[in-house]
Every structure is written in C-alpha cells, then in structure tokens.
Symmetry: C2
Subunit: 335 residues, 2 copies
C-alpha cells in the first residue's frame, strides 16, 4: 500500500493556556483500507496557518474544533498512490483538508485536483492556495480599493497580506504595509513595490501612520487586530472601510480576543467593518485562480514560501507563525 | 425685539470626568442685531440627545466639540419673531442647531421650516426629527431587515430604537427589544407590538437572548455598545449584520470606549458592522419624512416624548438621558 509507515500529528487535548507546545502527539497508526469512491494520498506538503489556532480552541467558530485525540486539521497537497475513485487516478496531484499526516485515505469529493501546467503543486498551498484566495477575495470583493485611495495592510509581508497589498497597488491605491523588522519592511518596498512600510517593532505606530498616510486611511486590511487596529482606527477617514481578516496578535487567546479600545470611532466616522473567512468564498475559488495564476506567471504578483522539513517539526513550525519568525507562507515539507 | 431677557446655557469647560454636572453656566447675554439674511427665533423646545456627550468631549469626532464658554449645541424648534431673510417670515416654525437658549439670531440657511399641517412643531425634534430619521435610515438603509429574520434592537424603547424596531416589525421580522425595567419592556410589547422584550436590568442577557432568539440573531441594531454588544455577538448568525448607532453605555468615557470583548466573532462568523450618524443622511431627510409623517399619522409607528420644563433644568435633563430615566424622546420645553 505504502512503502513507509504512516505518521500522524494528533492533538491530545485543547491547550489550557496560549501556549500549545504540549498538546501534540506523534502516532504511527496504520491506515484504513481504501473503499469505493476513495483514494490513498501520499502527502508532500502541509500548510501551516494562523487559523489553526482557532481549530484547537474548544469554542463555537466557523468550523468545529479538532476533537481531542484526532489528527490535527490542515490543508495539504500530495499525490494519489492508490485509487478506487472514478474521477481520480494514481499520479494525480490533489489538495484538501488532509490533516497533518504523511498519508491519508480520503473520499474523492473532499479533494480537488491541482494540476496546472507550469505550476508546482505546493504553490496551491501558498500564493495560489487558500491564503492567496483569502487575500484576493478580501481585497477585491470586500475592500474594493480605488485609484488614489490610501490603503493600509497589516502583516503585509505575510501570505494573505502580501497578496492583498499587491492587489491594492495594482488598483492604483497608495499602499502602506505594516510588518515586523527591517527585512520584512525592505521586502515590502523592494520586492512588492509598496509605497511605504512601517516596522511595528520600532514602536509608535500612530506617529508612523500619521507620517505615511498624510491624507488619512480609506481602507484597512486587518490581519492582526489588537493595538495596530486601534492605532489605525484613529486615522481612518470618514466612511472608511475595514476588512477584518484575522487577528494573529489575538490568536493566543482566540476565544476572548478584545475589540479595539477606541471602538466608538466606528460610529463617529461612519466606518464599515466586514469580517470574513474563506468559507464565504469556497464556491468562487475558480474565479481567484483565473486571476492569480496568470498574474503570478507574469510576475504582476509575487509571494514567498518558507519551507520547514520533516513532519516531526510540525510543533516548531506551528509556533513560528505566532512568533512572526517565518518569512513568507509557511509550509511543512514531508518525507 | 423680544419681550423677555434671553437666557443661554453655556459649557464652561470640557468635563474632567464622566460626570458633566459642574460644567454648565447660565448667562443672560443680549442678542446681536439681526442682519440681512438672518432671523430672530424664539425657541420653544430643545432636543436632549445622547450625542451631546460627544460634543462636550475634546476629541476629533464627526463634529468639532463645543468651544469652552460657548452656548451648548442642541437642536431646537421655535418661531420666527423678527426676519430680515427673504425666505422666512415672522410666525414661521423652524428647526436647526439652535443651541440651548431661549432666543437666537441665525442665518436663514442654517434653519429649516417645519410647517406640516396637523403635525405639532416639537414632533420634529422627536419621532419626526433627527432621532426618527436616525432609526429610519439605520434600519432601512443599513440594516435592511427581511421577512422571517430575527432582529434585536437595544435601547428599544428609546427615541431611535423604537422607530428602528417598529420598522423591522413592519418588514416582517421577528423583533426582540432590549430595555431597562418592566415599564419599558411592557411598552415594547403592549404598545409597539414587538415579539419579545428583554429587561437588561434583570441580568444574564445571554440566557435571555438565547431563550428569545431560538434561530440566532440575523441583525442587531446597536444603540448601547458595551456588555450587551458582547452578549449579542456570541449569538449572531453566520453573515449577520450589526448596525452600530450609538454606544450610550460608553458615552461617559466616549473618547476611549472599548470594543466588544469577543471581537474575533466578526471574523469567525463573517459579520458586517456599519457605524453611522445622521451626518451621512442629511441630504436624504425629505425621504425619511415622506415615510415617517404618514406612518405616524396612520399610527403604523408610534413614539413617546418625555418633556422637562424650563431652561434652568437642562443639567438635570442632560443627566437623565445617561441614567436611562426618561421614557421616550427627551425634550426641554422653554418659556
């Protein structure tokens, strides 16, 4: 069936504190047999995403949390090594909610083929995957940047933010990115071509926003929540829009993440705030791919990947994303 | 010119604490002469509104704050007693930002005539005035309730909330009102015909919402912010809408009113939040009147007024609105 013993990363229980270090268990369980309509997939890459923090929080959310003892939920990409499904053949590249494991048996309808000539399969876990679609729909469908507007994007060097920021730039907006550290800020200017970059680790974000947004802020693409959201709120223009996409700074205590301290600005400045997850747009993924794939091939948009090797390094990779230590979309390479 | 000495209520300075008790000064200054294009108005009623708290807070907002020493800003309605303006005649009823004073000289363009047969002029400070328009536009233009939806309105017996709640009811929604005390709750059911009323003073708003909104909450018209907003957020349906209209519970510390504790629900449930003030809709007031005046005459919508007499009672009336002691739109009757 498979040449190597399968390996799984399981969540033993929900983390009692913000630190999830102790909850991971490695198992080597055999796979169940492949039944009609199913395939066996050898996973090659796993996507590590901030949203995972919500999946290990025992609270009503946009998805049920992972069950204690279950394989950790994750997107993955891999190759079919055995098929009893009519629409999928051995050798096909597929993606889906595969979990953090080296191999898995899946129903055909839970996988999507990702074979596009000239596009490496793991790319569908990064810029051409869920994070790319998230940046695409959040900016084009909700944010709707217009020429001449000032757009601020937080976590702008990240997997979602970098796509969102580049789309706003292509729309003709003045785009100011917020990121942590000089390397990420240089990347925003030199590689992505943003108009300005703010290093939040230097402190006084309000002064930096004020200096870099002389006409105020029309649109804020929020990936982090917390203090940065509060600082941006104070400089939003009348009838400004806020796309609320994440809240990485709050994921450590996801269930009780507090709103901005100066919330009444929403009323006094007639702001609109729209939260979303990719759940809202799953039926429109082909639309995102139609735009993203040629834009990436023609280098109108760029993205970076940060690849960690070995399934045993999943706990380290998981921690990296909350410490901001990854440069680009974090992927776990297996086998 | 006038038969009585004019009286003004002035703000001596911005309140140092949440309590505004000590900032009011009564003056008896003479009026400046009426010049070309101006009129002298004898004010009959002054509107007391929660938004006043923002006007005496020294912070950038949708309007500049009142200047220390200046007449307190307010809407008023009165009768023209002297006119040097071509469009306004002695005896005309007018409304506008008149300030808290018994008489005032105003430019013609800053006033609006309010003479509609069968409608008492002071009604244009209550259900047919700014608070009525606020409820109307907030619910019809932003909220857009649909038949069968569950709509929750806080401060539902208040001047804005009662109009908003009745409009949602007329749209065919199940409407649950939140108010303080048994009298206000009876009013919601018996007079306004809402489907359920929650007395927030009884505690455990979450349990009451759960009991009265078995299908979750599709639309929340928020007049209060604070803990009630947090409780509602936890029971919002996927892609629910929140109209953020006020934040009375936060006005005491307006400048730093905190957002809801469970802000990440905006992301996980794909919620939209839209803040607004009447500033956004001033150009559409005739549209609101076209709907509200016949609806009120035909008793499809109702509203209550709470009238306090005497300009010297302004400080008491101002405090009442934040203590929730008024039943209906609070007006100050002069002279």
């Amino acid at each position: 069936m498979t040449d190597k013993k399968p390996v799984q990363i399981r969540m033993s229980d929900y983390p009692a504190t913000g630190n999830a270090r102790d909850i991971w268990r490695v198992t080597h369980d055999s796979l169940r047999p492949v039944e009609d309509g199913e395939v066996l997939v050898r996973l090659d890459y796993i996507s590590i995403d901030p949203g995972m923090r919500g999946w290990i929080t025992n609270k009503r959310s946009y998805m049920p949390p992972v069950k204690p003892g279950g394989v950790m939920r994750a997107f993955g990409v891999g190759e079919i090594v055995e098929s009893r499904a009519t629409g999928l053949a051995v050798g096909d590249q597929v993606t889906g909610f595969t979990g953090v494991q080296t191999h898995g048996v899946f129903k055909q309808e839970n996988l999507r083929k990702v074979g596009i000539p000239g596009v490496p399969p793991h790319t569908f876990l990064s810029g051409l995957g869920m994070t790319g679609y998230t940046g695409y729909f959040g900016m084009t469908d909700i944010g709707q940047p217009k020429e001449g507007e000032t757009v601020v994007v937080s976590a702008a060097s990240g997997a979602v933010g970098s796509i969102a920021a580049q789309i706003a730039k292509l729309a003709g907006a003045r785009v100011v990115g917020i990121a942590g550290g000089p390397d990420k800020c240089s990347y925003l200017i030199d590689e992505l071509g943003l108009d300005a970059a703010i290093d939040y680790k230097k402190g006084d974000i309000s002064a930096a926003l004020n200096a870099n947004c002389p006409d105020g802020i029309d649109l804020y693409f929020d990936n982090v929540g917390g203090d940065i959201l509060s600082a941006v709120l104070n400089q939003m223009n009348y009838q400004g829009r806020i796309v609320v996409c994440g809240g990485i700074s709050q994921y450590g205590d996801f269930a009780s993440a507090a709103g901005p301290a100066n919330f009444m600005t929403v009323v006094t400045h007639s702001l609109s705030m729209r939260g979303f997850t990719m759940r809202d747009y799953m039926h429109r993924v082909p639309e995102a791919l139609d735009w993203l794939v040629p834009a990436w091939k023609e280098r109108r948009i760029k993205f970076r990947e940060h690849i960690v090797e070995g399934i045993e390094n999943f706990p380290n990779a998981f921690d990296m994303i909350f410490d901001g230590k990854n440069h680009g979309k974090l992927l776990l390479k297996l086998g």
